[in-house]
Amino acid sequence: MIKLETFLIVSAILFSLGIYIIIARKNVIAILMGVELILNAASLNFVAFNKYSVPTSFSGQMFSVFIIVLAACEAVVAFAIVMSMYKNFKDINADSATTMKE
Protein backbone atom coordinates (compact mmCIF):
# COMPACT_ATOMS: atom_id res chain seq x y z
CA MET A 1 0.00 0.00 0.00
CA ILE A 2 1.42 3.34 -1.03
CA LYS A 3 1.37 5.95 1.70
CA LEU A 4 -0.17 9.44 1.40
CA GLU A 5 3.28 10.99 1.88
CA THR A 6 4.51 9.44 -1.37
CA PHE A 7 1.82 11.20 -3.36
CA LEU A 8 2.48 14.48 -1.58
CA ILE A 9 6.21 14.25 -2.29
CA VAL A 10 5.59 13.54 -5.97
CA SER A 11 3.19 16.43 -6.21
CA ALA A 12 5.61 18.73 -4.38
CA ILE A 13 8.31 17.77 -6.90
CA LEU A 14 5.91 18.46 -9.77
CA PHE A 15 5.02 21.83 -8.25
CA SER A 16 8.67 22.82 -7.80
CA LEU A 17 9.53 21.74 -11.33
CA GLY A 18 6.64 23.83 -12.61
CA ILE A 19 7.84 26.92 -10.74
CA TYR A 20 11.41 26.27 -11.95
CA ILE A 21 10.31 26.00 -15.57
CA ILE A 22 8.29 29.22 -15.33
CA ILE A 23 11.30 31.08 -13.94
CA ALA A 24 13.99 29.52 -16.10
CA ARG A 25 12.47 29.13 -19.56
CA LYS A 26 11.98 32.01 -21.98
CA ASN A 27 9.79 30.27 -24.55
CA VAL A 28 6.14 31.09 -23.87
CA ILE A 29 4.97 27.55 -24.72
CA ALA A 30 7.46 26.13 -22.21
CA ILE A 31 6.22 28.55 -19.54
CA LEU A 32 2.66 27.41 -20.16
CA MET A 33 3.85 23.80 -19.79
CA GLY A 34 5.22 24.80 -16.39
CA VAL A 35 1.81 26.15 -15.44
CA GLU A 36 0.27 22.81 -16.49
CA LEU A 37 2.70 21.01 -14.17
CA ILE A 38 1.53 23.13 -11.23
CA LEU A 39 -2.08 22.33 -12.08
CA ASN A 40 -1.25 18.62 -12.28
CA ALA A 41 0.49 18.78 -8.90
CA ALA A 42 -2.65 20.25 -7.33
CA SER A 43 -4.79 17.70 -9.14
CA LEU A 44 -2.72 14.83 -7.80
CA ASN A 45 -2.96 16.28 -4.30
CA PHE A 46 -6.73 16.42 -4.51
CA VAL A 47 -7.07 12.81 -5.60
CA ALA A 48 -4.61 11.59 -2.96
CA PHE A 49 -6.25 13.58 -0.15
CA ASN A 50 -9.64 12.35 -1.26
CA LYS A 51 -8.54 8.73 -1.01
CA TYR A 52 -6.72 9.01 2.33
CA SER A 53 -8.53 11.78 4.26
CA VAL A 54 -12.16 11.53 3.16
CA PRO A 55 -12.67 8.16 1.43
CA THR A 56 -16.46 8.47 1.62
CA SER A 57 -16.83 11.58 -0.55
CA PHE A 58 -15.87 12.36 -4.13
CA SER A 59 -15.26 16.08 -3.80
CA GLY A 60 -11.51 15.85 -4.32
CA GLN A 61 -11.78 13.71 -7.45
CA MET A 62 -14.44 16.06 -8.75
CA PHE A 63 -12.12 18.99 -8.16
CA SER A 64 -9.34 17.32 -10.12
CA VAL A 65 -11.69 16.70 -13.06
CA PHE A 66 -12.57 20.40 -13.01
CA ILE A 67 -8.88 21.27 -12.93
CA ILE A 68 -8.30 19.18 -16.06
CA VAL A 69 -11.21 20.86 -17.84
CA LEU A 70 -10.07 24.34 -16.84
CA ALA A 71 -6.49 23.58 -17.81
CA ALA A 72 -7.79 22.81 -21.29
CA CYS A 73 -9.77 26.08 -21.38
CA GLU A 74 -6.77 28.03 -20.23
CA ALA A 75 -4.57 26.34 -22.83
CA VAL A 76 -7.02 27.34 -25.58
CA VAL A 77 -7.01 30.99 -24.54
CA ALA A 78 -3.27 31.05 -23.90
CA PHE A 79 -2.39 29.51 -27.26
CA ALA A 80 -4.71 31.90 -29.08
CA ILE A 81 -2.80 34.73 -27.42
CA VAL A 82 0.54 33.10 -28.31
CA MET A 83 -0.60 32.79 -31.95
CA SER A 84 -1.46 36.45 -32.12
CA MET A 85 1.85 37.20 -30.40
CA TYR A 86 3.61 35.31 -33.18
CA LYS A 87 1.75 37.41 -35.76
CA ASN A 88 2.65 40.67 -34.02
CA PHE A 89 6.20 39.99 -32.83
CA LYS A 90 7.28 37.18 -35.24
CA ASP A 91 8.58 35.35 -32.20
CA ILE A 92 7.29 33.49 -29.15
CA ASN A 93 10.11 34.39 -26.81
CA ALA A 94 8.82 36.02 -23.64
CA ASP A 95 11.76 38.43 -23.63
CA SER A 96 10.88 39.91 -27.00
CA ALA A 97 7.54 41.28 -25.79
CA THR A 98 8.91 44.44 -24.23
CA THR A 99 7.10 47.37 -25.80
CA MET A 100 6.09 48.55 -22.33
CA LYS A 101 8.79 49.21 -19.74
CA GLU A 102 9.07 50.87 -16.36
Binding site: G18, I38, F46, S53, F63, F66, E74, M100
Partner: protein
Amino acid sequence: MSWEDNEQMLLGNIQSIYYFVPELLLSFFIFIILFMDLLKIDQKVIYALAPLFLLITFMVQTNLDIRSVYLFEGILRYDALGVYFKYFTYIVLFVVVLISLSSNETNTKATTTFGFLPAEYLMLTFGLGIGMILLATSNNMLMTYLAIEFLSLLSYIATGFKFKNKKSNEASLKYVIYGGVASGIMIYGISFLYGMTGSLFYNSIGSFLTNQPTYNVTLFVSILFIYAGLGYKIATIPMHMWCPDVYEGAPTPVTALLSVGPKAAGFILALRLFYEVFSVNFQDITHINWPLFIAIISVFTMTLGNLVAIHQTNLKRLLAYSSIAHAGYVLMGIASISILGQQSVLFYLVVYMLMNFGAFLVVILISNRYGVEEIEDYRGLAWKTPYLGFIAVLMTIFLLSLTGLPPFAGFIGKFYLFSAVIEKGPSYYWLALAGVINSVISLYYYARIIKAMFLEEARTEIALVDGDTQVLGTAILSVLAFFTLLFGIYWGPVFEVITTIFASL
Protein backbone atom coordinates in the same frame (compact mmCIF):
# COMPACT_ATOMS: atom_id res chain seq x y z
CA MET B 1 -25.39 30.38 12.55
CA SER B 2 -23.92 27.28 11.02
CA TRP B 3 -25.81 25.42 8.40
CA GLU B 4 -25.82 22.12 10.21
CA ASP B 5 -28.15 23.73 12.77
CA ASN B 6 -30.54 25.13 10.24
CA GLU B 7 -31.66 22.84 7.44
CA GLN B 8 -34.00 25.47 6.04
CA MET B 9 -31.06 27.63 5.06
CA LEU B 10 -29.84 25.03 2.60
CA LEU B 11 -31.83 25.19 -0.63
CA GLY B 12 -31.92 22.40 -3.21
CA ASN B 13 -31.12 22.87 -6.87
CA ILE B 14 -34.68 23.52 -8.04
CA GLN B 15 -35.58 25.88 -5.18
CA SER B 16 -32.35 27.82 -5.71
CA ILE B 17 -33.17 28.78 -9.28
CA TYR B 18 -35.66 31.36 -8.03
CA TYR B 19 -32.84 33.27 -6.36
CA PHE B 20 -30.52 32.78 -9.30
CA VAL B 21 -32.86 34.23 -11.95
CA PRO B 22 -30.97 37.53 -12.46
CA GLU B 23 -27.72 35.72 -13.26
CA LEU B 24 -29.51 33.31 -15.57
CA LEU B 25 -31.16 36.28 -17.25
CA LEU B 26 -27.78 37.90 -17.76
CA SER B 27 -26.45 34.68 -19.32
CA PHE B 28 -29.55 34.53 -21.51
CA PHE B 29 -28.90 38.09 -22.71
CA ILE B 30 -25.41 37.03 -23.74
CA PHE B 31 -26.99 34.47 -26.07
CA ILE B 32 -29.45 37.09 -27.34
CA ILE B 33 -26.55 39.42 -28.15
CA LEU B 34 -24.64 36.69 -29.99
CA PHE B 35 -27.75 35.66 -31.93
CA MET B 36 -28.45 39.24 -32.91
CA ASP B 37 -24.90 39.45 -34.20
CA LEU B 38 -25.42 36.20 -36.10
CA LEU B 39 -28.56 37.60 -37.73
CA LYS B 40 -26.50 40.60 -38.87
CA ILE B 41 -28.54 43.09 -36.89
CA ASP B 42 -26.96 46.56 -36.89
CA GLN B 43 -24.22 46.79 -34.29
CA LYS B 44 -25.49 50.14 -33.07
CA VAL B 45 -28.79 48.47 -32.15
CA ILE B 46 -26.99 45.71 -30.24
CA TYR B 47 -24.94 48.28 -28.37
CA ALA B 48 -28.02 50.36 -27.57
CA LEU B 49 -29.85 47.32 -26.21
CA ALA B 50 -27.04 46.31 -23.83
CA PRO B 51 -27.78 48.97 -21.15
CA LEU B 52 -31.45 48.04 -21.42
CA PHE B 53 -30.63 44.38 -20.72
CA LEU B 54 -28.68 45.40 -17.63
CA LEU B 55 -31.56 47.58 -16.49
CA ILE B 56 -33.97 44.63 -16.81
CA THR B 57 -31.62 42.41 -14.81
CA PHE B 58 -31.36 45.10 -12.16
CA MET B 59 -35.13 45.40 -11.91
CA VAL B 60 -35.53 41.62 -11.63
CA GLN B 61 -32.97 41.61 -8.84
CA THR B 62 -34.85 44.31 -6.93
CA ASN B 63 -37.95 42.10 -6.92
CA LEU B 64 -36.19 39.33 -5.01
CA ASP B 65 -36.30 39.46 -1.23
CA ILE B 66 -33.10 39.53 0.79
CA ARG B 67 -32.65 36.40 2.89
CA SER B 68 -29.69 34.57 4.29
CA VAL B 69 -29.69 31.19 2.55
CA TYR B 70 -27.35 28.82 0.75
CA LEU B 71 -28.10 28.07 -2.88
CA PHE B 72 -27.44 24.89 -4.87
CA GLU B 73 -26.79 22.62 -1.89
CA GLY B 74 -24.46 25.13 -0.28
CA ILE B 75 -22.32 26.07 -3.29
CA LEU B 76 -23.38 29.73 -3.33
CA ARG B 77 -24.34 32.19 -0.61
CA TYR B 78 -27.40 34.36 -0.94
CA ASP B 79 -27.26 37.10 1.68
CA ALA B 80 -27.41 40.88 1.98
CA LEU B 81 -23.73 41.28 1.12
CA GLY B 82 -24.15 39.17 -2.01
CA VAL B 83 -27.33 40.95 -3.10
CA TYR B 84 -25.81 44.40 -2.71
CA PHE B 85 -22.74 43.25 -4.54
CA LYS B 86 -25.01 42.16 -7.38
CA TYR B 87 -26.47 45.67 -7.54
CA PHE B 88 -22.93 47.00 -7.51
CA THR B 89 -22.00 44.67 -10.37
CA TYR B 90 -24.95 45.71 -12.54
CA ILE B 91 -24.15 49.37 -11.95
CA VAL B 92 -20.49 48.75 -12.83
CA LEU B 93 -21.48 46.92 -16.03
CA PHE B 94 -23.96 49.66 -16.92
CA VAL B 95 -21.33 52.37 -16.55
CA VAL B 96 -18.76 50.28 -18.41
CA VAL B 97 -21.09 49.70 -21.37
CA LEU B 98 -21.75 53.44 -21.56
CA ILE B 99 -18.02 54.16 -21.22
CA SER B 100 -17.32 51.64 -24.00
CA LEU B 101 -19.87 53.39 -26.18
CA SER B 102 -18.07 56.68 -25.72
CA SER B 103 -14.58 55.30 -26.38
CA ASN B 104 -13.31 55.19 -29.94
CA GLU B 105 -11.39 52.03 -29.05
CA THR B 106 -14.52 50.01 -28.37
CA ASN B 107 -17.50 51.63 -30.09
CA THR B 108 -18.90 51.14 -33.55
CA LYS B 109 -16.27 53.46 -35.02
CA ALA B 110 -13.63 50.90 -34.08
CA THR B 111 -15.22 48.22 -36.27
CA THR B 112 -14.00 50.06 -39.34
CA THR B 113 -10.61 51.06 -37.95
CA PHE B 114 -9.36 47.73 -36.60
CA GLY B 115 -12.06 45.09 -36.92
CA PHE B 116 -13.56 45.48 -33.47
CA LEU B 117 -16.37 43.03 -32.66
CA PRO B 118 -19.05 44.70 -30.49
CA ALA B 119 -21.14 41.60 -29.82
CA GLU B 120 -18.15 39.59 -28.60
CA TYR B 121 -16.99 42.54 -26.55
CA LEU B 122 -20.38 42.84 -24.84
CA MET B 123 -20.36 39.10 -24.25
CA LEU B 124 -17.05 39.45 -22.41
CA THR B 125 -18.30 42.38 -20.33
CA PHE B 126 -21.48 40.61 -19.28
CA GLY B 127 -19.53 37.42 -18.64
CA LEU B 128 -17.13 39.31 -16.38
CA GLY B 129 -20.16 40.54 -14.45
CA ILE B 130 -21.41 36.98 -13.91
CA GLY B 131 -17.92 35.91 -12.87
CA MET B 132 -17.73 38.75 -10.35
CA ILE B 133 -21.07 37.74 -8.83
CA LEU B 134 -20.09 34.06 -8.62
CA LEU B 135 -16.77 34.93 -6.98
CA ALA B 136 -18.37 37.24 -4.43
CA THR B 137 -21.18 34.84 -3.49
CA SER B 138 -19.15 31.63 -3.52
CA ASN B 139 -19.34 29.36 -0.49
CA ASN B 140 -17.23 26.52 -1.80
CA MET B 141 -13.55 26.34 -2.73
CA LEU B 142 -14.32 24.68 -6.06
CA MET B 143 -16.75 27.47 -6.94
CA THR B 144 -14.16 30.04 -5.88
CA TYR B 145 -11.56 28.48 -8.15
CA LEU B 146 -14.00 28.20 -11.05
CA ALA B 147 -15.10 31.82 -10.63
CA ILE B 148 -11.53 33.07 -10.45
CA GLU B 149 -10.63 31.16 -13.61
CA PHE B 150 -13.81 32.34 -15.30
CA LEU B 151 -12.96 35.96 -14.51
CA SER B 152 -9.34 35.47 -15.52
CA LEU B 153 -10.04 33.80 -18.86
CA LEU B 154 -12.47 36.55 -19.87
CA SER B 155 -10.05 39.23 -18.68
CA TYR B 156 -7.22 37.76 -20.80
CA ILE B 157 -9.37 37.92 -23.90
CA ALA B 158 -10.74 41.37 -23.11
CA THR B 159 -7.20 42.67 -22.53
CA GLY B 160 -6.00 41.38 -25.88
CA PHE B 161 -9.09 42.55 -27.71
CA LYS B 162 -7.15 44.93 -29.96
CA PHE B 163 -5.52 41.88 -31.43
CA LYS B 164 -3.47 43.70 -34.06
CA ASN B 165 -2.06 46.08 -31.47
CA LYS B 166 1.34 45.06 -30.10
CA LYS B 167 0.78 46.62 -26.67
CA SER B 168 -2.60 44.97 -26.20
CA ASN B 169 -1.18 41.62 -27.26
CA GLU B 170 1.79 41.88 -24.96
CA ALA B 171 -0.49 42.87 -22.07
CA SER B 172 -2.70 39.83 -22.52
CA LEU B 173 0.36 37.57 -22.80
CA LYS B 174 1.74 38.84 -19.51
CA TYR B 175 -1.67 38.58 -17.94
CA VAL B 176 -2.15 34.96 -19.01
CA ILE B 177 1.23 33.90 -17.65
CA TYR B 178 0.87 35.66 -14.29
CA GLY B 179 -2.75 34.59 -14.00
CA GLY B 180 -2.00 30.94 -14.76
CA VAL B 181 0.77 30.82 -12.19
CA ALA B 182 -1.25 32.63 -9.51
CA SER B 183 -4.33 30.44 -9.87
CA GLY B 184 -2.13 27.33 -10.03
CA ILE B 185 -0.49 28.25 -6.74
CA MET B 186 -3.90 29.03 -5.28
CA ILE B 187 -5.36 25.59 -6.01
CA TYR B 188 -2.21 23.95 -4.69
CA GLY B 189 -2.94 25.79 -1.45
CA ILE B 190 -6.61 24.82 -1.57
CA SER B 191 -5.61 21.17 -1.98
CA PHE B 192 -3.78 21.27 1.35
CA LEU B 193 -6.70 22.99 3.04
CA TYR B 194 -8.91 20.25 1.63
CA GLY B 195 -6.56 17.56 2.85
CA MET B 196 -6.59 18.98 6.38
CA THR B 197 -10.29 19.73 6.70
CA GLY B 198 -11.76 17.10 4.38
CA SER B 199 -14.22 19.56 2.92
CA LEU B 200 -14.45 22.28 0.32
CA PHE B 201 -17.30 24.23 1.92
CA TYR B 202 -16.39 27.44 3.72
CA ASN B 203 -18.61 26.58 6.69
CA SER B 204 -17.04 23.16 7.25
CA ILE B 205 -13.54 24.55 6.85
CA GLY B 206 -14.43 27.31 9.33
CA SER B 207 -15.81 24.92 11.93
CA PHE B 208 -12.78 22.65 11.52
CA LEU B 209 -10.43 25.58 12.09
CA THR B 210 -12.36 26.60 15.21
CA ASN B 211 -11.45 23.27 16.78
CA GLN B 212 -7.84 23.56 15.73
CA PRO B 213 -5.95 24.19 18.99
CA THR B 214 -2.44 25.20 17.93
CA TYR B 215 -0.28 26.68 15.23
CA ASN B 216 -0.06 24.49 12.16
CA VAL B 217 2.57 25.05 9.49
CA THR B 218 0.52 23.34 6.76
CA LEU B 219 -2.36 25.69 7.44
CA PHE B 220 0.00 28.64 7.25
CA VAL B 221 1.39 27.52 3.88
CA SER B 222 -2.03 26.81 2.44
CA ILE B 223 -3.43 30.20 3.51
CA LEU B 224 -0.33 31.86 2.07
CA PHE B 225 -0.86 30.03 -1.24
CA ILE B 226 -4.56 30.87 -1.32
CA TYR B 227 -3.63 34.48 -0.73
CA ALA B 228 -1.46 34.27 -3.86
CA GLY B 229 -4.56 33.78 -6.01
CA LEU B 230 -6.54 36.36 -4.10
CA GLY B 231 -3.75 38.91 -4.09
CA TYR B 232 -3.37 38.48 -7.82
CA LYS B 233 -7.03 39.39 -8.37
CA ILE B 234 -6.79 42.50 -6.20
CA ALA B 235 -3.23 43.30 -7.36
CA THR B 236 -1.25 43.51 -4.14
CA ILE B 237 2.42 42.85 -3.52
CA PRO B 238 4.00 40.54 -4.63
CA MET B 239 1.41 39.64 -7.28
CA HIS B 240 1.05 43.15 -8.70
CA MET B 241 3.50 42.92 -11.63
CA TRP B 242 0.87 42.22 -14.26
CA CYS B 243 -1.16 45.25 -13.28
CA PRO B 244 0.69 48.20 -14.91
CA ASP B 245 1.33 46.39 -18.19
CA VAL B 246 -2.21 45.09 -18.47
CA TYR B 247 -3.76 48.42 -17.60
CA GLU B 248 -1.59 50.22 -20.12
CA GLY B 249 -2.02 47.75 -22.94
CA ALA B 250 -5.71 46.91 -22.63
CA PRO B 251 -8.36 49.04 -24.35
CA THR B 252 -9.14 51.81 -21.82
CA PRO B 253 -12.77 50.78 -21.10
CA VAL B 254 -11.50 47.27 -20.31
CA THR B 255 -8.87 48.82 -18.04
CA ALA B 256 -11.59 50.74 -16.24
CA LEU B 257 -13.62 47.57 -15.78
CA LEU B 258 -10.63 45.49 -14.63
CA SER B 259 -9.54 48.14 -12.16
CA VAL B 260 -12.95 48.17 -10.47
CA GLY B 261 -14.95 45.00 -11.12
CA PRO B 262 -12.76 41.94 -10.52
CA LYS B 263 -10.88 43.87 -7.87
CA ALA B 264 -14.08 44.56 -5.91
CA ALA B 265 -15.11 40.91 -6.27
CA GLY B 266 -11.70 39.90 -4.96
CA PHE B 267 -12.18 42.12 -1.91
CA ILE B 268 -15.59 40.63 -1.20
CA LEU B 269 -13.98 37.18 -1.42
CA ALA B 270 -11.28 38.38 0.98
CA LEU B 271 -13.98 39.59 3.39
CA ARG B 272 -15.72 36.22 3.22
CA LEU B 273 -12.56 34.15 3.56
CA PHE B 274 -10.83 36.13 6.26
CA TYR B 275 -13.89 37.23 8.23
CA GLU B 276 -16.04 34.12 8.01
CA VAL B 277 -13.64 31.23 7.50
CA PHE B 278 -10.36 32.25 9.09
CA SER B 279 -11.94 34.09 12.02
CA VAL B 280 -14.92 33.79 14.33
CA ASN B 281 -16.53 36.87 15.88
CA PHE B 282 -13.59 38.97 14.71
CA GLN B 283 -11.08 36.69 16.46
CA ASP B 284 -8.33 35.09 14.39
CA ILE B 285 -8.72 31.31 14.74
CA THR B 286 -5.86 30.18 12.52
CA HIS B 287 -3.08 30.88 15.06
CA ILE B 288 -0.98 32.54 12.36
CA ASN B 289 -1.97 36.14 13.15
CA TRP B 290 -3.10 36.87 9.61
CA PRO B 291 -4.25 40.44 10.42
CA LEU B 292 -0.60 41.35 10.96
CA PHE B 293 0.36 39.75 7.63
CA ILE B 294 -2.37 41.62 5.80
CA ALA B 295 -1.30 44.85 7.51
CA ILE B 296 2.32 44.35 6.39
CA ILE B 297 1.24 43.52 2.84
CA SER B 298 -0.99 46.59 2.90
CA VAL B 299 1.87 48.90 3.87
CA PHE B 300 4.22 47.47 1.24
CA THR B 301 1.54 47.55 -1.44
CA MET B 302 0.57 51.18 -0.96
CA THR B 303 4.16 52.33 -0.57
CA LEU B 304 5.30 50.59 -3.75
CA GLY B 305 2.25 51.73 -5.70
CA ASN B 306 2.73 55.34 -4.71
CA LEU B 307 6.51 55.49 -5.05
CA VAL B 308 6.57 53.93 -8.51
CA ALA B 309 3.62 56.04 -9.67
CA ILE B 310 5.74 59.18 -9.17
CA HIS B 311 7.98 58.32 -12.11
CA GLN B 312 5.26 57.36 -14.58
CA THR B 313 4.77 59.36 -17.75
CA ASN B 314 1.85 57.41 -19.20
CA LEU B 315 -1.42 58.35 -17.53
CA LYS B 316 -2.95 54.87 -17.76
CA ARG B 317 0.16 53.37 -16.22
CA LEU B 318 0.10 55.98 -13.48
CA LEU B 319 -3.51 55.13 -12.71
CA ALA B 320 -2.52 51.45 -12.63
CA TYR B 321 0.04 52.13 -9.91
CA SER B 322 -2.46 54.33 -8.12
CA SER B 323 -4.94 51.44 -8.20
CA ILE B 324 -2.27 49.20 -6.63
CA ALA B 325 -1.88 51.80 -3.89
CA HIS B 326 -5.63 51.92 -3.39
CA ALA B 327 -5.73 48.13 -3.02
CA GLY B 328 -3.23 48.68 -0.21
CA TYR B 329 -5.53 51.21 1.47
CA VAL B 330 -8.50 48.84 1.28
CA LEU B 331 -6.39 46.05 2.80
CA MET B 332 -6.06 48.29 5.89
CA GLY B 333 -9.78 47.81 6.39
CA ILE B 334 -9.44 44.03 6.12
CA ALA B 335 -6.44 43.97 8.47
CA SER B 336 -8.39 45.86 11.14
CA ILE B 337 -10.68 42.79 11.60
CA SER B 338 -13.73 44.60 13.01
CA ILE B 339 -17.23 45.45 11.90
CA LEU B 340 -16.11 48.97 11.03
CA GLY B 341 -13.35 47.39 8.95
CA GLN B 342 -15.91 45.47 6.87
CA GLN B 343 -18.08 48.54 6.42
CA SER B 344 -15.18 50.76 5.45
CA VAL B 345 -14.00 48.27 2.81
CA LEU B 346 -17.44 48.20 1.22
CA PHE B 347 -17.84 51.97 1.36
CA TYR B 348 -14.42 52.49 -0.16
CA LEU B 349 -15.23 50.14 -3.06
CA VAL B 350 -18.29 52.24 -3.94
CA VAL B 351 -16.34 55.49 -3.75
CA TYR B 352 -13.39 53.99 -5.62
CA MET B 353 -15.68 52.90 -8.44
CA LEU B 354 -16.93 56.47 -8.94
CA MET B 355 -13.59 58.23 -8.94
CA ASN B 356 -11.67 55.57 -10.84
CA PHE B 357 -14.25 55.32 -13.61
CA GLY B 358 -14.18 59.11 -13.77
CA ALA B 359 -10.41 59.30 -14.12
CA PHE B 360 -10.34 56.59 -16.81
CA LEU B 361 -13.23 58.22 -18.67
CA VAL B 362 -11.24 61.45 -18.88
CA VAL B 363 -8.33 59.45 -20.33
CA ILE B 364 -10.76 57.99 -22.87
CA LEU B 365 -12.27 61.31 -23.89
CA ILE B 366 -8.87 62.95 -24.34
CA SER B 367 -7.50 59.96 -26.22
CA ASN B 368 -10.57 60.01 -28.51
CA ARG B 369 -9.91 63.62 -29.31
CA TYR B 370 -6.13 63.69 -29.58
CA GLY B 371 -5.04 60.03 -29.52
CA VAL B 372 -2.62 60.63 -26.64
CA GLU B 373 -2.22 59.16 -23.16
CA GLU B 374 1.01 60.77 -21.91
CA ILE B 375 0.92 63.31 -19.08
CA GLU B 376 3.22 65.45 -21.22
CA ASP B 377 0.40 65.85 -23.74
CA TYR B 378 -2.01 67.08 -21.07
CA ARG B 379 -0.04 70.33 -20.69
CA GLY B 380 -2.22 73.40 -20.94
CA LEU B 381 -5.29 71.28 -21.60
CA ALA B 382 -7.56 73.42 -19.46
CA TRP B 383 -7.06 76.55 -21.54
CA LYS B 384 -7.49 75.13 -25.04
CA THR B 385 -11.27 75.26 -25.31
CA PRO B 386 -14.06 75.78 -22.73
CA TYR B 387 -15.08 72.14 -23.20
CA LEU B 388 -11.60 70.89 -22.39
CA GLY B 389 -11.51 73.29 -19.45
CA PHE B 390 -14.64 71.62 -18.12
CA ILE B 391 -13.07 68.17 -18.55
CA ALA B 392 -9.94 69.38 -16.77
CA VAL B 393 -12.01 70.64 -13.84
CA LEU B 394 -13.79 67.29 -13.55
CA MET B 395 -10.45 65.46 -13.78
CA THR B 396 -9.23 67.64 -10.89
CA ILE B 397 -12.24 66.55 -8.83
CA PHE B 398 -11.48 62.87 -9.48
CA LEU B 399 -7.77 63.24 -8.79
CA LEU B 400 -8.29 65.14 -5.54
CA SER B 401 -10.84 62.55 -4.52
CA LEU B 402 -8.34 59.78 -5.28
CA THR B 403 -5.84 61.60 -3.08
CA GLY B 404 -8.41 61.71 -0.30
CA LEU B 405 -8.89 65.43 0.15
CA PRO B 406 -12.13 66.85 1.53
CA PRO B 407 -14.85 67.65 0.42
CA PHE B 408 -14.70 64.72 -2.02
CA ALA B 409 -15.92 61.16 -1.57
CA GLY B 410 -12.40 59.76 -1.44
CA PHE B 411 -11.82 61.62 1.82
CA ILE B 412 -14.83 59.99 3.49
CA GLY B 413 -13.76 56.56 2.23
CA LYS B 414 -10.27 56.99 3.59
CA PHE B 415 -11.62 58.49 6.81
CA TYR B 416 -13.57 55.29 7.52
CA LEU B 417 -10.59 53.08 6.65
CA PHE B 418 -8.33 55.05 8.97
CA SER B 419 -10.87 55.11 11.78
CA ALA B 420 -11.25 51.32 11.47
CA VAL B 421 -7.49 51.03 11.99
CA ILE B 422 -7.32 53.60 14.82
CA GLU B 423 -10.19 51.83 16.58
CA LYS B 424 -7.93 48.79 17.03
CA GLY B 425 -5.77 50.69 19.49
CA PRO B 426 -2.14 51.82 19.70
CA SER B 427 -0.72 48.55 18.36
CA TYR B 428 -2.11 49.48 14.94
CA TYR B 429 -1.17 53.17 14.85
CA TRP B 430 1.82 52.44 12.64
CA LEU B 431 -0.53 51.17 9.95
CA ALA B 432 -2.60 54.35 10.04
CA LEU B 433 0.59 56.41 10.00
CA ALA B 434 1.82 54.55 6.91
CA GLY B 435 -1.54 55.22 5.26
CA VAL B 436 -1.37 58.93 5.99
CA ILE B 437 2.22 59.25 4.73
CA ASN B 438 1.22 57.42 1.57
CA SER B 439 -1.72 59.74 0.99
CA VAL B 440 0.69 62.65 1.13
CA ILE B 441 3.00 60.95 -1.40
CA SER B 442 0.06 60.28 -3.67
CA LEU B 443 -0.89 63.97 -3.63
CA TYR B 444 2.43 64.68 -5.35
CA TYR B 445 1.78 62.68 -8.49
CA TYR B 446 -1.92 63.46 -8.71
CA ALA B 447 -1.12 67.15 -8.36
CA ARG B 448 1.47 66.79 -11.13
CA ILE B 449 -1.34 66.02 -13.58
CA ILE B 450 -3.41 68.94 -12.31
CA LYS B 451 -0.38 71.21 -12.64
CA ALA B 452 0.21 70.02 -16.19
CA MET B 453 -3.39 70.71 -17.15
CA PHE B 454 -3.71 74.16 -15.57
CA LEU B 455 -0.33 75.76 -14.99
CA GLU B 456 1.88 74.60 -17.84
CA GLU B 457 1.93 75.50 -21.50
CA ALA B 458 1.76 72.97 -24.28
CA ARG B 459 5.23 72.46 -25.77
CA THR B 460 4.07 71.10 -29.08
CA GLU B 461 0.77 71.39 -30.81
CA ILE B 462 -1.11 68.08 -30.77
CA ALA B 463 -3.12 67.21 -33.86
CA LEU B 464 -6.84 66.72 -33.45
CA VAL B 465 -7.81 63.13 -34.30
CA ASP B 466 -11.56 63.23 -33.87
CA GLY B 467 -13.32 66.50 -33.16
CA ASP B 468 -16.80 65.06 -32.52
CA THR B 469 -18.67 66.39 -29.52
CA GLN B 470 -18.80 63.56 -27.03
CA VAL B 471 -22.17 64.13 -25.46
CA LEU B 472 -22.59 60.69 -23.88
CA GLY B 473 -19.09 60.55 -22.42
CA THR B 474 -19.32 64.05 -20.99
CA ALA B 475 -22.74 63.31 -19.50
CA ILE B 476 -21.50 60.18 -17.68
CA LEU B 477 -18.44 62.08 -16.57
CA SER B 478 -20.62 64.81 -15.06
CA VAL B 479 -22.79 62.24 -13.29
CA LEU B 480 -19.71 60.49 -11.84
CA ALA B 481 -18.27 63.83 -10.71
CA PHE B 482 -21.60 64.81 -9.20
CA PHE B 483 -21.70 61.64 -7.09
CA THR B 484 -18.05 62.01 -6.14
CA LEU B 485 -18.92 65.44 -4.75
CA LEU B 486 -22.24 64.35 -3.27
CA PHE B 487 -20.81 61.41 -1.34
CA GLY B 488 -18.14 63.73 0.00
CA ILE B 489 -20.80 65.94 1.59
CA TYR B 490 -23.79 63.69 2.11
CA TRP B 491 -22.70 60.07 2.39
CA GLY B 492 -25.11 59.06 5.18
CA PRO B 493 -27.58 56.99 3.11
CA VAL B 494 -24.82 54.90 1.48
CA PHE B 495 -23.23 54.15 4.80
CA GLU B 496 -26.58 53.30 6.33
CA VAL B 497 -27.23 50.70 3.60
CA ILE B 498 -23.78 49.23 4.27
CA THR B 499 -24.54 49.12 8.00
CA THR B 500 -27.76 47.18 7.37
CA ILE B 501 -25.84 44.65 5.23
CA PHE B 502 -23.63 43.66 8.12
CA ALA B 503 -26.35 43.97 10.73
CA SER B 504 -28.25 41.18 8.96
CA LEU B 505 -25.33 38.78 8.70
